[in-house]
């Protein structure tokens, strides 16, 4: 991105969708989180979360791990290194857009 480019060009199209952004934001603060916890935190249904996680997984941003606690199956979600980097860059772009919109502040 050139120095003159608008910060919106730094937004990640995969992360930009609100539900996917929320999933990434939740996972950014965790080493890993259980599927049901992310579902409740983001306030979506199982099917919506599954679909959006599949998109993020295909992009290489989220890792899905399945296992058991006792006899109960569990699914864990975590950000990959690429996912964490992409989310950090996306948040930086959002901050730059917000700063550019405030009079008296200049965009980076």
């Amino acid at each position: 991105m050139s120095a003159q480019a608008h910060p919106r060009h730094g937004l990640d199209e995969v992360i930009h969708a609100p539900v996917r952004f929320s999933i990434m934001a939740a996972l950014a603060m965790a080493d890993k989180a259980e599927f049901s916890f992310v579902r409740d935190t983001v306030e979506v249904s199982d099917s919506v979360l599954s679909r959006q996680v599949s998109t993020l997984e295909s992009a290489g941003y989220v890792k899905v791990t399945k296992g058991y606690v006792g006899k109960r199956p569990r699914t864990w979600l975590s950000l990959t290194r690429d996912g964490r980097g992409a989310f950090t860059a996306h948040v930086s772009a959002l901050q730059a857009i917000t700063a550019a919109a405030v009079p008296g502040q200049t965009q980076g």
Binding site: P18, F21, A26, D31, K32, E43, T98, A101
Partner: protein, 143 residues
């Protein structure tokens, strides 16, 4: 949650950032179990470590062993049931366990060789062995 109600449409950057902060706080709050886990682990280490050196007889050793194994099973089960592992928790846990293992080895090694049944060694030794857990719990509390 306002921008979520817009499905997959564009969202306001400022609202998105505020929303990300709220989600992050919710995740952080749900990962606070780890501080309680370390504090309880510290209490167990502080109590059980001196028992190794102060109690005599085969029965006492068996009781302490069983108590330790039961404790590990219960607290491991508690940790496995938690829905969130906070950011960096795994790395911090390795540091705590590593520090504990080093101190524990010194307390037990020197204690059995040089200070058998000496409370002046074993009680402070228990406190020292528990210190990494308390420091870890304190750090989690401050996060």
């Amino acid at each position: 949650m306002d921008h979520l109600q817009h499905g997959q449409r564009e969202m306001d950057p400022q609202a998105a950032l505020a929303h990300a902060d709220r989600l992050g706080r919710r995740v952080t709050d749900r990962s606070r179990w780890y501080g309680r886990f370390l504090a309880v682990f510290g209490v167990a280490v502080m109590v059980i470590t001196p028992l190794w050196g102060l109690l005599t007889g085969g029965t006492a050793a068996v009781v302490v062993n069983i108590a330790w194994v039961v404790f590990i099973i219960v607290i491991s089960g508690y940790a496995r049931r938690q829905p969130v592992a906070g950011r960096g928790m795994g790395r911090r846990y390795v540091l705590v366990i590593g520090a504990w293992a080093a101190i524990y080895a010194v307390v037990l090694g020197c204690g059995f060789a040089l200070f058998p049944h000496n409370p002046a060694w074993w009680i402070p030794g228990g406190v020292a062995a528990a210190a990494p857990f308390y420091l870890g719990a304190y750090r989690e509390h401050r996060r």
